[in-house]
């Protein structure tokens, strides 16, 4: 770096302070800095000893980015990471601006970045990843992506631009086939996965999309460097290379467990011989759930467990992770999820009733559940009133109320019960 970056960084930082004063975060400072100094990200990243990791996937990006960052930190590695709300290029540039000195110095050994699939390939032109981790291809936001295989290609093409390593999901029909696209021996390809027994023990498995365009519509067989071998509630056994590590997951569910296998495999690839089982284990012990992913928040003298979903796969995997039907349930979905046709592809039998359904699409959810004969307490499209109803219900025996929410309703609900900080302000 050098003095040529002082001005763009200063302008970016100033804009950032102004945006904060106005309230809320903003991607504009990052946009401005990138316009003034297109090589700014590249120059900052070139200081990182372990390079830049992109985390891609239909689901689990935030969780896995968090897990990988914590595992690396437990090894004494200084990690720069982006808050999960900021996974577009401008947002990432904005969050870097907050950390760099005026001459562009940043005290970090690695950047672990979750990146939106649709922007990732373009982003490699300004910030070339050394490692790309691909989590899964699941049917997601078809109104935006049109076809699931397009999303797979976005990720596959991005990963091929990694300068050193690809870490990919052996159990994913699309992503397990990346090696076919790599000419030569760079980047190298490493797999993570889950044993057949663990996958079979979950009612709907991993919910990855079927690869209809290939003769082989299921996933390719490979040896996994990180393999999930056991799962009981929030306790998981993950084999890394030859040793099995017992870890505690930040939240229950097969999806979190395989994300952990992905994070551990990636840490092992990045750190090489430096990877230490006990450090990884320690990292998971003290890990908190990512924002809204199995998080417990205080609600009067009770607690609310937030279960967030954004598409069919994340909702199904969260429902499958319920050890028993929750005692008190609020279900919330609004226009933040424009197309919810897929609710008819979801098996809701993990719920034996719902106390309140809320959000602009509450009636559509009620209609879906009525077709399944699942009892509904109340339909109250207004979230504030729905929360009042939840408050008035008797305290559940475990003291925990379960709120199953889409992203937008979660943000609103948090605010209404006094946890209004934005995701990228924690």
């Amino acid at each position: 770096m050098g003095f040529s970056y002082v001005l763009p960084i200063l302008i970016g930082k100033t804009l950032r302070v102004l945006a904060r004063l106005r309230g809320g975060g903003s991607a504009f400072p990052g946009y401005a800095a990138l316009r003034l100094a297109p090589r700014f990200l590249h120059e900052v990243a070139s200081q990182f000893e372990h390079g830049v990791v992109f985390v891609l996937g239909s689901n689990g990006k935030s969780t896995t980015t968090h897990m990988l960052s914590e595992v690396l930190r437990a090894h004494g590695v200084r990690v720069f990471t982006n808050p999960s709300g900021a996974n577009l290029p401008q947002g990432i540039a904005s969050s870097l601006l907050a950390e760099v000195s005026l001459t562009g110095r940043l005290k970090a050994d690695i950047a672990v970045l979750e990146v939106d699939e649709a922007y990732a390939l373009e982003f490699t032109k300004v910030l070339r990843p050394s490692t790309v981790l691909m989590l899964n291809t699941q049917v997601d936001q078809l109104y935006r992506f049109y076809e699931t295989e397009r999303v797979a290609d976005m990720m596959l093409d991005t990963s091929a631009r990694a300068t050193e390593h690809i870490v990919t999901n052996r159990e994913d029909p699309y992503l397990s086939k990346i090696a076919r696209r790599i000419v030569g021996d760079q980047p190298d390809v490493t797999y993570f996965g889950a044993s057949a027994e663990v996958i079979a023990s979950s009612p709907h498995g991993l919910f990855n999309a079927t690869d209809y365009r290939d003769g082989e519509s299921s996933s390719e067989e490979h040896v996994a460097l990180g393999e999930l071998r056991g799962l009981e509630g929030a306790s998981a056994t993950v084999a890394v290379r030859d040793s099995e590590i017992e870890i505690v997951l930040p939240a229950k569910g097969l999806h979190y467990a395989i994300d952990a296998a992905a994070a551990l495999a990636t840490a092992a690839v990045v750190l090489g011989e430096g990877f230490v089982d006990s450090a990884a284990q320690r990292a998971f012990e003290r890990m908190k759930p990512a924002y809204g992913r199995g998080e417990l928040l205080q609600f009067g003298d009770e607690q609310v467990e937030f279960v967030m979903f954004k598409n069919a796969a994340s909702l199904q995997l969260n429902l499958d992770a319920l050890p028993e039907p929750p005692e008190q349930v609020l279900l919330a979905i609004d226009e933040g999820t424009p197309d919810i046709s897929w609710i008819y592809d979801i098996d809701f039998s993990g719920l034996d009733h719902v106390d309140v359904i809320t959000g602009a699409k509450a009636w559509q959810i009620a209609l879906r559940l009525e077709h399944e004969g699942i009892p509904i307490g109340r339909v109250e499209p207004d979230l504030r009133r729905a929360i009042d109803i939840m408050r008035s219900l008797p305290k559940p025996s475990r003291g925990i109320k379960t709120w199953v929410v889409n992203y937008e309703q979660m943000m609103l609900a948090r605010k209404l019960i006094g946890f209004g900080e934005l995701e990228n302000q924690r």
Binding site: Y143, T210, P338, S341, I343, Y344, A360, A366, V379
Partner: protein, 249 residues
């Protein structure tokens, strides 16, 4: 009496838009009005049942269309025969296009079964958002998400006319021929629009010499009341939000 047979064609490949919901709406409403139903999932390589009362097919990507194409064409004669003899069809999106005279997508072309008198052309322009249509079976609300243009034969009757939403009002929507409906309205449509579901069930049951008793009277059937109530409230919200164009991310 045998159960009302609903055949869902290629539920995995051609069912990406919650199309199972259309099957579920038909079977739930039929059962709650006292008619036994049997749902047959037809997969590639299986034999079609000897008889069907209602055939349902849904949407899927081009790769899925290619994957099922040979099996579909091998069954084309049966499907055509069924349609000609008055079997009800409810076909959505890409599945409907495979039951038309064919689909063109750039250089690629897929032949169709020929149940519906139109051809589909994939365009570069995506249509995404709520849609409200005045159909031959009453008003229909749903969610559109496609990049298709349907070129109807001169004699083809459209399923309805757009009244509001993401497509300009006045435009023709879908195709109906006999008891077969092809549409680009998703949502899925049948749970949200019990009038259409009931119309399909009435036609299918009438063809068997049975009477469908759900639609009679203002009150409707007691067993349908919750379904009707939720559907009506859901439609009201969609009507209010139909003009709201959500941000493309």
């Amino acid at each position: 009496m045998s159960a009302l047979t609903i055949v869902q064609l290629y539920p995995d490949e051609m069912g990406v838009a919650g199309d199972a919901g259309n099957v579920l709406a038909l079977s739930t409403r039929a059962r709650r009005s006292g008619h036994a139903t049997e749902v047959v999932r037809h997969e590639v390589g299986q034999e079609l049942p000897a008889n069907a009362d209602i055939v349902v097919i849904g949407g899927g990507p081009m790769s899925a269309m290619r994957r099922i194409h040979a099996d579909l064409m091998a069954n084309a004669q049966t499907l055509k025969l069924w349609a000609d003899s008055g079997v009800s069809f409810f076909a959505y999106g890409a599945g409907a296009e495979l039951l038309s005279h064919g689909v063109t997508a750039g250089e690629a072309e897929l032949s169709g079964v020929g149940v519906f008198p139109f051809r589909a052309e994939r365009t570069g322009e995506r249509v995404v958002g709520y849609l409200i249509v005045d159909s031959v079976d009453g008003p229909v609300v749903g969610f559109a998400d496609h990049a298709s243009r349907w070129l109807r034969n001169d004699s083809a009757e459209s399923f309805g006319v757009v009244s509001a939403g993401v497509v300009p009002a006045g435009q023709a929507e879908g195709v109906i021929i006999g008891s077969a409906i092809a549409t680009l309205i998703g949502g899925p449509v049948l749970p949200l629009n019990p009038d259409v579901t009931d119309a399909i069930l009435s036609r299918a049951l009438a063809r068997r010499g049975e009477t469908y008793s759900a639609g009679a009277g203002q009150e409707g059937l007691e067993e349908h009341r919750a379904l009707d109530h939720y559907a009506s409230e859901a439609r009201a919200v969609i009507r209010r939000n139909a003009e709201h164009h959500f941000k493309r991310i």
